[in-house]
Every structure is written in C-alpha cells, then in structure tokens.
C-alpha cells in the first residue's frame, strides 16, 4: 500500500477499510501505549515521571478516552541499557501489541528505541531524551520528541547570557553526549551573538563521579567572569557545595541548564546559590490556571508536589492522545501522517508537534534562582516557548536528512 494512498484514506476517515489487520482493535479494547524507561537506574527523575503519566491516563479515561476507546499504559524498566530497551520494545510490540512506543531518559536508549521504531515502522514518542540527533541527524518519519533539546535549552539560556557583561567564560559539563553537546551549542550561539566572548576553561567531570573540589579549584584558577554549568543531580550538589565554600560563585554570573527543576533544585536546600540564570520549573511560583489545575490534580492523587518529570510524563501522554485523535486511527502510517501538526495541552500551556522535524514546541521556564525560607526557588521567570528556541527552517532542513 503506497504512502499517498494511506494519506488519502486517512483524510477520508475510512478507518476500517484502511487497516483490516487492526479491525480487532477497533472495538472497546483500549489503545495501548508501551512505555520504556530507566526506572531503576534513574529513579529520581523517572518515578515522578511515571506518576505524571498515570495521572494523565486516569484523566483522559475519565473523559472517555480517545476515538471512543480507553488508554492503557504498559510500563517497562530498561535498567538503563539500550540492549534491554530493544528487547522490551520487541516484547511490547510483539506480545502486547501496543499501538505506540514511548519513553526514554538516556539519550542512547532513546536513539536505540527510535532506530527500532524506524525498522519496525512503528511510532516512537521520546519524552525526556535531550539529544539533538533524535529529531535531526537520526530523525525519521516515525520518531517524535517532546522535551526541549540540548540545542533549545542552550539557545534559551544564550538569550540571557548574551546580555551579561562577562567576556571570560568557563564551562563545566558531565562528560557524555548531553554535556558536550549542550556546551558546544552554548559556545557556538553565544559567540555568534558576542564575538568578544572567550572560553577560558572547560571542565568535563565524569557523570556521577565529579571530583568537585578539584573541578572548582581548576575553574577558579582560570579566573573566569562567568560560568556555564551543565551538571545536574548528585554532581551538581557536590559542585555547588564546594563552589559555595570556596567562593567560586562570588561576584560571578552563572548560567545553568536544568538547575531550576525541582528534582535538582530541592537537594541544594539552603545552599541554593542566588541569581543563577537557569532553565527549570517554578512549581511553587506559577499562578496560571493550567499549571495550577495540573498541580492540584497531581497533589490530590500523589500527595506531593509535581516535579519536572511529572510534567514530562503527563505531557507525553496528552501529546500522544492528541496525535491519535488527529490521526483518527492507531494505524501506524496514519499516525505518522497525523501526528505532525497535532496540538496538545500540557501543564505549561498548549504545544504542538512540528511538521519540520517532529520536535514538540513544549518549552520550559527561564529564570533566576533564589532562596526562600531555606529552600531553593525560581524568581523573575518567564515561560519560553519551544518554537522560539529552534533554528530557522532551512537550518533544520540541513540538519535533518530524513
């Protein structure tokens, strides 16, 4: 069956004719979403994420589901390894007959699943993996990604960084793709705006094994005027503690990726440095009804404040459901045609699946860190829409061969 004919049939909404193989599914059976993530390897992010997903499924089913069918979520733990993720994808697709694959935290797991989806011509919606390759170099017809990528996070922060007077910058980033790629984009974009900027030190501690004292001393020795930080989680906690004690952040601007997310901000406690420019989620500060409704529902179900992972998990499900609704079917080719352009509600407001590269326009908040009652928080924040942080279409076209 040719692609054009599929598209045509999708438009005519003659679903039963288009997909005889899927007829069995068109009754009252639920639509199955198979989700794979690093639940045991990265629990601090993935458990709130899972709770966000479960909340979304509950809400959508309470409203009658989509296409008159309920949603069923099947969750698998990949133990942090791409090989295991592939085997579980086989299980979800082959045994459980899921309609859509989703998930991933680590970029390599996301890429492995995406490649599997391409081979099996199955929809794969990556929630968290940030690597640009997912939608650009290795992007394809069946692959989509929800969160703002490393490029987008860097671009959002460069807006602010370019306004700073500093010309001598140092960077510190975990020594793997997410870290090196974010630093690469930050340097490139900042120097494009500010040719006078120089980078005087680049620290690349191993992920999860930062030697914080030595790293801080090495940065201090380079005498930068500003610092760009990409570390997160336990590495960030160690880095901030050493930096505070050694006065690394005194009279220096710091621009920092993801640090405003509750997952990473909360452990800093009363040592949260003030005035860092960060991307994140001001969960205690937002006042718009969409955010508040989400927070209230989340608290009612789980008895705790949502984290960034909760938002990603929730939006992942609504973005998939919106795509299915627009496609009018769970037939793979129809979804591949129908998802691009689908608009969906998220706790941060509406977003859509871009047709250019299958990146969603879900954005994130940019603001400054502050200390309030002994806890870290974000102030002076604004929501930065994902669409405004992406390069022009001709650049995207050049980056995405597919």
């Amino acid at each position: 069956m040719s692609l054009t004919r599929r598209s045509l049939l999708a438009a005519s909404a003659a679903a039963p004719l288009a997909a005889p193989a899927r007829l069995r599914a068109q009754g009252a059976t639920p639509i199955r979403i198979g989700e794979i993530n690093s639940y045991t390897a990265i629990p601090a992010f993935t458990l709130p994420y899972r709770r966000g997903m479960e909340l979304a499924v509950e809400q959508i089913n309470a409203q009658g589901g989509v296409l008159g069918r309920h949603i069923e979520l099947l969750v698998r733990d990949d133990a942090g390894k791409p090989d295991d993720a592939i085997r579980l994808a086989t299980e979800l697709l082959g045994e459980q007959k899921v309609d859509v694959l989703a998930g991933g935290f680590l970029s390599n797991v996301g890429l492995a699943l995406s490649d599997f989806a391409l081979k099996n011509k199955t929809m794969f919606i990556a929630g968290e993996p940030l690597t640009d390759a997912l939608v650009w170099e290795k992007g394809h017809r069946y692959g989509f990604r929800l969160r703002p990528s490393t490029y987008m996070q860097a671009a959002m922060l460069v807006e602010e960084a370019a306004k700073l007077p500093a010309t001598r910058w140092a960077t510190v980033a975990p020594n793997y793709e997410y870290g090196t790629s974010t630093v690469k984009w930050f340097k490139q974009l900042l120097q494009a705006r500010r040719p006078d900027v120089r980078f005087v030190a680049d620290q690349l501690p191993p992920l999860g094994k930062i030697d914080a004292g030595a790293t801080v001393a090495a940065i201090e020795a380079a005498k930068p005027q500003a610092i760009f930080n990409v570390t997160f989680g336990p590495d960030l906690t160690n880095f901030v503690r050493q930096g505070n004690t050694r006065g690394l952040f005194d009279n220096r601007d710091v621009v920092s990726v993801l640090t405003g997310e509750p997952e990473y901000l909360d452990p800093l406690g009363d040592e949260t440095p003030q005035g860092w420019i960060v991307t994140g989620y001001p969960v205690t500060g937002v006042t718009d009804p969409t955010n508040l409704a989400f927070i209230a529902a989340y608290k009612a179900k789980w008895g705790e404040m949502p984290k960034m992972g909760s938002v990603v998990g929730h939006a992942l499900i609504t973005s998939i459901v919106a795509g299915i609704a627009k496609s009018g079917s769970v037939e793979q080719e129809k979804m591949a045609d129908g998802f691009p352009g689908a608009s969906f509600a998220t706790p941060f407001g509406r977003a859509l699946w871009r047709t250019q590269d299958h990146q969603s326009t879900l954005g994130t908040y940019v603001g400054r860190t502050a200390l309030k009652d002994g806890h870290g928080t974000m102030v002076e924040w604004r929501y930065e829409d994902g669409a405004s942080a992406l390069p022009p279409d001709d650049v995207v076209k050049a980056l995405r061969p597919a």
Binding site: Y39, T40, P43, A44, R76, D77, A79, K81, P82, D83, D84, I86, R87, L88, T90, E91, G94, E95, S107, N108, L111, A112, S114, D115, L118, K119, T131, K138, N175, Y176, E177, Y178, A201, D202, Q203, L204, P205, P206, G208, D211, A212, G213, A214, T215, A217, A218, E220, A221, G233, P234, T237, R241, Q242, T245, R246, G247, D266, P267, G269, E271
Partner: protein
C-alpha cells in the same frame, strides 16, 4: 598559588579515596574475599549517616556522634552479612564469593531505594561544615582540611590495631597462614566476622564522612566500588599503608590532571592504575607473590563423554525448536541467550583453564560489536564480512594488549583487564567521529528475519562453543592447564608458558568479539554500554553461576542468567531484589556451580 591549592585539594580527595578503600583492603587481606558489595556498604553509611545526623544536634559533637553511629551501624550490617552469606562460602571456589557479593549489591540497591526513596538526600550543612580558610592564596574548605587529617588518622589507628593488639596479631597471622592460625585453636569464624565487620564499618565511616561534600544517593555504590578496587590494587592487595599511598598518588594526580587535561577525566584513574601495574604488578607496597586470587584447588576437567556431546546436541536442537515456535519477544530472549553462551564460554577459556581472571571481558565484546557495526555502516560490508570483522578486530587488539596482560597474574591481572576495558570504553565515548560517541552506531540490522538471524546465531555460537571446548581438550588446552596448575614444572618440561597464556587470551578475546558482533546485529545498534563494567560483571556472573570447573558450566550459566534476568526484569519492578536473592540461593545451594560436580553445601 593555584598549583599548590590544586594539590591540596587533591589530598582531600585522596583521603576520601582512602576511606573508601581501606576497609576493602582489610577484608581482602585476611579473608581473601573480593568484596563487590563494598561500595554498597559505603552507600549504606551515607544513608544511615543522613538519617542519624538529621536527628542529632548540628554541632561538631553531634556530627562526630552521627558519623560514628553510621560506621557502627554498617559494621553491624557487615557482621550479619558475613555470618549469613560469606561464612558459608569460604570453602567454595574462591571466585564464587564475588558472585555472592554481586548478589548483595543488587539486594542492597533495591532495599535502600525502598527505605529511603529515589530522591537524592542532602544533609543541610551547619556553619562549621561550610566554613573556609584562606590558604595558599585561595579559599579552602575547613572540612576538607579535617578530611586530609582523617586519612592518616585512620591509617594510624589501623596500624596500632594491627601492630599492638592481640586481635591485630592474630589477624596478621591469619593473613600469613590461615591454616596455622586454625591449628593454634583460634576461632577463625569469629575472626573473619570481626574483620569483615571492621572493613564494613570503615566503608560506612567513609560514606558518612562524604555527606558534607555531597549527598546520599542511589548510585553511590557503583561510583565508589571501582575507586576502592583501584586504590587497593595500586597500593598492593592487603597493604593498608599502600592503599594510603595509592590514594594520595591518585588523588593528587587526578586533581592536577583536571587542569591540564580535563577531557581525560574518564580514564585518568585507570591509566595511572595500568601504569603502576605494568611496572609493579604487586602494587606500590604489596609483596611480590601476594597477589593471589588464582583459581584455587585446580580440578582436572572431565573430557567430554559421549553423553555430554549428546546432551549438547540435544540442547542445540531444543533451542532451534524453541526458536521456531517462539513469538518475537522470546525469540529475542533466545537470541540474546545463545550469544551470551558464546560470550560466557570465551571468558571461561581465560578464567578456567587459562587461570586468568578478567574484570574487563566486555572490552572484547564491545570491540567486536563496534567492528561489526562500523563495517556494516561505514564500509557497507555485507553481513558475513561484518561478522568476520568482529573476531578479527577483537583478536588483533587482544594480541597487542595480551603482551602486557599475561605477564601478570591474579587480581592484578584482573584489574589490568578492567583498566583496558575502561580505556576502550572512554575511546568509544569520546572518539565521536569514529564511534558516534554516546549516540552510538544505529541501523545495523542483519537483513534477515529475526527467526533467520536467531538460527544463524545459534549455528555460529554452537560451533564456536564446541570449537572452544575442543581446543581445551586438545594438547594446547592440556598444556595451558599444566601452565596454570604447575607453572614451574610446566616450564621445566619445555612448555612456553607466556605464549600459551597469550594464545588463550587471544582465543578468548576473539570468541568474545564474535559474540559482540552477533549482538550488534541482533540489537541493530552499538553503544559504549557494550564495553561497560556491567557487561563484564554479567559475563563473570554467568561463568561463576554455571561453574568454572567444567565446560558445560558457562553454557548452563549463560542460559540460566539470561533467562533469570530477562524474565525478572519483565515481571517485577523489584527485579534487582529477586535476581539478587536467586543468585544468592543458587550460590549457597550449589557452590560448585549449576553444572559442577560434588554438589552440596560447602563446609
């Protein structure tokens, strides 16, 4: 002056390293247990410390009390673990304890997450822990100065304990000659429990003392365990002063290295370790010949009986049948299992008849996977050529690395293989132009149906495993075992021992490379994870689970381990707990391995 400040910072790092490692050194020195769970005890110390310190007053006394409490708590846990698990395994083949402690790692991970939750727990620092002093032209944390002093203090106390007390004398005597100490009527069981508990307590102390500079988090265990092993081996197994010296060497070089070569952060430690081991295999202060860890009590392997051959043929037929009936998922599991069989069998060549332990066997698997993946993508080579590239590449690199590795023995050799695997892993991560870095190589699918590819894997792995077995009973294999069991006599008989070991090393690497190549096409992608420590541990677990002493061991071990892991991962979110318990149960019930003879509880 920043150089001096950087070096001083390195000394603080060195103390942290020493605190992690000294307990491991104490335990190994006496009990010869290679304790994989040492990092887990360190993590428990951090979590216990967090819980205690939150309740205690935020004063120096409160802090000291909390840290001591955490150390004592972990020492108690250590004593329980020793009595419940390790005590039953001292008479078992030496490496089996490694599998038991690996099971403990899994169990403790799951328990810690169940008790303390997944979030990172940081301890609010009272002012005395955040203070700094100005020294050498920069601000330096006062707590880190205390840490710098804590290292030598602990070293001194341990020295006094071992040099001046009766307990210490007995421990030293036991380190020298266990049988003699037993002959003098000293209760070894109690001694070993006390020593293990002391080592555990030191790990707990290190964990609690790491809190002011960081946080308690899931993952501290695996982060600290490699460091601990590196320090102990570089210092010399069982030498506590050596461990301190090694910690200082590594801590200071690492701190200075960050300034000159920040990109080298992934491998610096392993490069230092490799350099020391190549020059001084026994470590800085270790005595030559003390680097044991040789597979002990060599047992002659049974030549395959007709029955064994038939059983192998039946197994292959049964797998082929299962493969033709299975659905897509079980087909994927079976494919993985047969690849694991060849991988485990390749490690067995080194570990069993070769007498060489490898902690870095994933290197050959990963090199094979990358070679196959690059051949298929960059060179667009057809499947047979790509698959051939895998063993060839792994074999050639093994030939090169083997020249250095086979000159060592025991744990030093094992750690050198680990160092090489880590360096290979770092190359895979950082040589982005060639390997794609963390993003890996994608789109390596075999162009066969999954069932067809399974049958290909089954055929290749069955033939490969059979050939390996054949080799071990050929004159080469007999000579290899002679070189392992009686090196002096073998040399006197004119056997070229070094060349025999090198040949075994290359054979093992080649076969592992082939299994890696097969795996690349089964998964469609290759990532640095294929060279990571977990994969080496998987291989060790399979061989030890099956039993080192027989050729059927790795086959059965690989099938059992893959089956267990794949099923549990799917069945339960507490798969780590269940996998750990299953491994422990198997180890305790069948210390000789699933395929071993003389089954039954070791005394």
């Amino acid at each position: 002056m920043s150089f001096a400040l950087q070096a001083l910072t390195g000394l603080a790092g060195a103390s942290s390293l020493f605190l992690v490692a000294c307990g491991l050194s104490v335990i190994f020195g006496v009990t010869r247990v290679v304790n994989f769970a040492h990092g887990s005890l360190f993590m428990l110390g951090a979590y216990l410390g967090w819980s205690l310190l939150r309740l205690l007053p935020h004063t120096p006394w409160g802090f000291g009390l909390g840290v001591a409490g955490a150390a004592i708590g972990v020492a108690a846990i250590g004593a329980v673990l020793e009595m419940a698990v390790l005590r039953r395994l001292y008479a078992a083949p030496e490496l089996l304890q490694l599998l038991a402690t690996f099971a403990l790692v899994l169990i403790i991970q799951d328990c810690v997450q169940a008790i303390w939750g997944p979030a990172e727990l940081s301890l609010p620092r009272p002012p005395f822990l955040r203070a700094s002093i100005t020294i050498l032209g920069g601000r330096f944390p006062r707590y880190d100065l205390w840490l710098i002093m804590a290292g030598p203090l602990v070293l001194g106390l341990l020295h006094l304990l071992f040099a001046r007390t009766r307990f210490g004398m007995v421990v030293r005597a036991a380190t020298e000659n266990r049988a003699l100490v037993a002959a003098f009527g000293i209760d070894q069981r109690r001694l070993f429990t006390l020593v293990f508990s002391l080592g555990a307590g030191l790990a707990g102390l290190g964990g609690a003392l790491s809190l002011p500079d960081g946080s308690a988090n899931i993952g501290l265990d695996l982060r600290s365990i490699t460091d601990a092993f590196v320090v102990v081996v570089v210092g010399g197994m069982g030498s506590i002063a050596g461990a301190y010296l090694a910690a200082v060497l590594i801590g200071v070089l690492q701190s200075l290295g960050l300034v000159w070569l920040p990109q080298g952060s992934l491998v610096l430690v392993f490069v230092i370790m490799a350099a020391v081991l190549v020059i001084r295999p026994q470590g800085l202060l270790g005595r030559a010949g003390s680097e044991t860890g040789q597979p002990d009590r060599p047992t002659p392997m049974r030549a395959a009986s007709a029955g064994g051959r038939i059983a192998f043929a039946v197994l292959v037929c049964a797998l082929a049948l299962a493969g033709s009936l299975a659905g897509p998922f079980w087909l994927a599991v079976l494919t993985e299992a047969v690849i694991a069989v060849l991988f485990a069998a390749s490690l067995h060549v080194m570990l069993g008849p070769g007498g060489m332990i490898s902690f870095g066997h994933a290197a050959w698997f990963g090199i094979g996977a990358y070679a196959a993946g690059l051949a298929a993508t960059s060179l667009a080579a057809p499947l047979p050529i790509s698959l051939l590239a895998a063993p060839v590449a792994a074999g050639l690199i093994a030939l090169l690395i083997g020249q250095v590795v086979v000159r060592l023995s025991g744990v030093a050799l094992a750690m050198l293989t680990l160092a090489f695997a880590q360096i290979a892993w770092a190359v895979a991560v950082q040589w982005t132009q060639l390997t794609g870095g963390d993003d890996g190589i994608l789109g390596i699918w075999p162009g066969l149906t999954p069932r067809g590819y399974f049958l290909l894997c089954l055929a290749v792995c069955a033939i490969g495993t059979a050939l390996l077995r054949q080799t071990l009973f050929a004159p080469f294999g007999l000579a290899l075992r002679a070189a392992r069991d009686a090196p002096l006599r073998a040399a006197a008989s004119g056997l070229p021992i070094a060349r025999l070991r090198l040949a075994a090393f290359v054979l093992s690497g080649t076969a592992a490379g082939l299994s890696g190549g097969l795996s690349a096409f089964a998964k469609g992608s290759v990532f640095p994870a294929s060279l990571a420590i977990d994969r080496s541990v998987d291989a060790l677990s399979m061989v030890l689970l099956g039993g080192v002493q027989s050729v059927s061991g790795p086959v059965i071990g690989a099938l059992a381990y893959t089956g267990l892991f794949d099923t549990l991962l799917l069945a339960s979110s507490h798969w780590r707990l269940w996998l750990g318990c299953a491994l422990l149960a198997l180890v305790l019930i069948r210390p000789q391995g699933l395929a071993g003879r003389g089954a039954g509880r070791a005394a």
